[in-house]
């Protein structure tokens, strides 16, 4: 029943799209009917898509296995929370979520932009509806979440256990709010371009939308990263896996876009740049969906997939790119008069860092797409790993961090460096600190020292801004401070992480100069939809402190999969991380023990960064 309602709501939603398109085209001539009628139509569309979405959730809660999606991804013994999150833990449901967010955003956009001109809102609506119609057809034709199965199975196939996790349950909705949020930036930028509407006021208004999707994207990536850290048991937070890369690329584009819009808002320059970035952000988000869903990516994250879906998104994607290039080339009139600014100014520093970000983006894009490209033309199968990214990104991070440290201190148009004394002092202090850290702990890596100095430099200079200027420009200070903290913690984490990997039987002890790991015992327990084996390990370090860690192995009933649950002891300075794994038919357990310094600061700093965004969104004073 719920599936039936869900399916017909989708059809209704699609029909409403067509009606809205009809009205908004008509509206270009006669503007009297715009507001009430069209807003209520978009509301109904949002309503029907939500109804469809709730229909699916309801089928999941009720374990209605006559629905194919529910059958494939749910099970009666699954806890309620994961039954619900299972709704978007699969291809069909997650696309329905895409659609839901698309319709939500256009509805909110119409509500919030009553001060803008009708033509502009109308055209934005029209472009957004084209995207929405595309997704409606995609969903109904290639991946309907409401297919029937007959005879009705008694039990479902269950949700992949590694998705049964609180962080991953909320990761897709948050990430999608970011991804899909960029659609509204795309539509309104194209609308503004065709109407020649781009102005300082427009920049001020679109800035909010950029911020919203940026905040969600940041938080979404953070959640995914935390999940990968403790659930996949690889003990890291970023693996340069293609699926991670496709979320980082729109983030870089969005961050660059945000900074450009700040310039646009002040000076009305760089309009072409802003348009290009808006288009790329959404294209990259779509591209991400395409790559993840088509299955052509050679990634550990890839789930089961279907080539027809990929083809559809690809064609749709090219259609949108073509449309936007057309609008950009034929409608965009560049009339930037006061293009001059002194080389030492805020504009220059933002521009330089934009170039760096574009460079990082290009590197990631090539690293992600090149293997696919090569396979198509030469059927050679390759993969591109972390060394590629490290080698190409890390050296350029150094000037990037320096410009980021100095840039915010400069004024618009023409500036002089103030407080040269502090700048030099910080530089000397940073170099000294880094030198001693690297020297005492980790040989003499020149690059490490320089990198660490630049990170410390940014850290000191943003901390000073933070303390001296306090609430003036709080959001920027907070976000930049968070970023410096992030880079610093990542570096220190990378340099000082240690790990021990060994195979132990119960009762055995691993011993090295610094540490003693005793595998004391295991015990097993039975929980609702899985059995668990809990290992008990005593870890004794040089100072004879004993720490007890209890990693788990979970054996899920359906699907029958074993997963490792890491045990992590976190404090402000370091994470102690342990996983164990049992190899088929063997007595040995595969044990991994890691010491990861400053792990918690990586998460906290990303929170700080997005918090900066949130403050900027709500703070009126900050607009100057």
């Amino acid at each position: 029943m719920a599936s039936l309602i869900g399916f017909y709501s989708l059809i209704f939603g699609l029909c409403l799209s067509l009606i809205i398109v009809f009205f908004s085209i008509k509206n270009f001539r006669n503007s009297s009917i715009f507001d009430k009628k069209i807003i209520s139509l978009t509301f109904f569309q949002f309503f029907f898509v939500s109804l469809s979405f709730f229909g699916l959730i309801f089928s999941f809660i009720n374990s209605d296995f006559s629905n194919e999606t529910v059958f494939n991804h749910s099970h009666t013994t699954k806890p309620l929370f994961y039954k619900i999150s299972g709704t978007w833990g699969n291809h069909e449901g997650s696309l329905l979520l895409w659609l839901l967010v698309l319709t939500l955003f256009i509805f909110l956009f119409l509500l919030k932009t009553k001060k803008q001109t009708k033509q502009y809102r109308n055209l934005t609506l029209l472009i957004q509806q084209i995207i929405i119609i595309g997704f409606f057809i995609f969903l109904i034709k290639t991946s309907s979440p409401f297919n029937y199965i007959f005879p009705v199975p008694m039990e479902g196939l269950g949700l992949n256990p590694i998705l049964q996790d609180p962080a991953l349950a909320i990761h897709p909705p948050i990430l999608y709010l970011g991804y899909v949020g960029s659609s509204i930036i795309f539509s309104s930028t194209l609308a503004a371009t065709s109407l020649n509407y781009i102005s300082k006021e427009w920049a001020k208004h679109i800035k909010k939308w950029v911020l919203v999707s940026w905040i969600f994207l940041t938080l979404g990536i953070l959640l995914g990263s935390i999940w990968a850290y403790y659930e996949l048991g690889w003990g890291g937070f970023w693996f340069w896996d293609p699926v991670e890369n496709v979320s980082l690329m729109p983030w870089l584009a969005l961050t660059t876009l945000f900074h450009c819009i700040l310039i646009l808002e002040k000076r009305l320059i760089l309009t072409s740049w802003v348009i290009i970035l808006s288009i790329s952000t959404f294209t990259l988000s779509m591209c991400g969906t395409f790559l993840v869903r088509s299955g052509i990516l050679n990634s550990v994250h890839t789930f089961a997939n279907d080539p027809e879906r990929g083809l559809f998104i690809l064609i749709f994607l090219f259609g949108l790119i073509f449309l936007s290039i057309f609008i950009f080339l034929f409608f965009h009139k560049s009339d930037e008069k006061n293009y001059n600014f002194f080389w030492l100014s805020k504009e220059t520093s933002i521009l330089i860092n934009n170039w760096f970000m574009m460079y990082f983006l290009t590197v990631i894009l090539i690293g992600t797409l090149y293997p696919i490209f090569l396979e198509v033309i030469s059927s050679e199968k390759i993969s591109v790993g972390p060394p590629f990214y490290n080698k190409l990104i890390i050296p350029f991070l150094i000037p990037f961090l320096f410009v980021m440290a100095i840039g915010p201190k400069l004024k618009w148009i023409n500036s002089d460096l103030e407080n040269k004394f502090f700048l030099v002092l910080f530089l000397i202090i940073s170099i000294l600190i880094s030198y001693f850290i690297i020297k005492n702990f980790n040989g003499d890596f020149l690059i490490n020292t320089i990198l660490l100095s630049s990170a410390f430099y940014l850290f000191f200079s943003t901390s000073k801004d933070f303390l001296v200027r306090g609430f003036k420009n709080l959001s920027q200070n907070l976000a930049h401070f968070g970023f410096s903290l992030l880079i610093l913690s990542i570096l220190l984490n990378n340099i000082f992480s240690t790990e021990i990997i060994t195979n132990l039987k119960i009762g055995e002890t691993f011993q090295s100069e610094k540490i003693k790991i005793n595998f004391e015992s295991i015990k097993s327990k039975n929980i609702k939809n899985y059995d668990v084996i809990i290992g008990k390990f005593n870890i004794k370090n040089l100072n004879n402190n004993i720490e007890v860690l209890k990693p788990e192995l979970r054996i899920y009933n359906q699907p029958n999969i074993v997963t490792s649950e890491a045990d992590i002891k976190t404090n402000l300075f370091t994470d102690k991380f342990m996983t164990m794994n049992l190899v088929q038919n063997q007595d040995y357990f595969n044990i991994r023990y890691q010491n990861k310094p400053f792990m918690i600061w990586i998460w906290l700093s990303v929170l700080l960064i997005s918090f900066g965004g949130i403050i900027s969104l709500f703070n009126k004073r900050n607009e100057n």
Partner: protein, 139 residues
């Protein structure tokens, strides 16, 4: 003669061009150095000379071939035509087991011995790495 402004503009365009080509060169160069090729056991057997760079191999873990001791894990990867012995020290993913697909990254010692530095985790028991699927299909 050209004015200063025109000169400056030419210089600027030249600079941008230079930076772009340098970037492209840099990226392609390190791409060449850092890609990891995938080979099936049969590919390995037919190699003219032993690959010195890091490669990936993939296939099925042969039944009754897993052997584990304190330091290392040994197993055999097969594509049902040729086999290769693998020795590995490191983290063993949950879904690693006999009769299932596997991808290992590391270095070839000779045509029948592979020293793995990483075994790739998978997320889904139905999921088969595309390379493994293709390698098995060819047989």
């Amino acid at each position: 003669m050209y004015g200063n402004k025109v000169k400056l503009r030419f210089f600027f365009i030249f600079l941008v061009f230079l930076i772009l080509s340098l970037t492209a060169f840099l990226i392609l160069k390190s791409l060449e150095e850092n890609v990891v090729y995938f080979q099936s056991p049969t590919d390995v057997k037919s190699l003219a000379e032993i690959e010195k760079n890091k490669i990936r191999i993939g296939g099925m873990v042969k039944n009754n071939s897993i052997f584990i001791e304190e330091k290392e894990l040994k197993f055999i990867v097969t594509d049902f035509e040729n086999e290769i012995n693998v020795i590995y020290t490191g983290v063993i993913p949950n879904l690693f087991s006999e009769g299932k697909g596997v991808v290992a990254e590391g270095f070839l010692k000779d045509r029948s011995l592979f020293l793995a530095t990483k075994i790739l985790a998978k997320h889904d028991e139905n999921y088969m790495p595309p390379e493994v699927k293709a390698a098995l299909k060819e047989k």
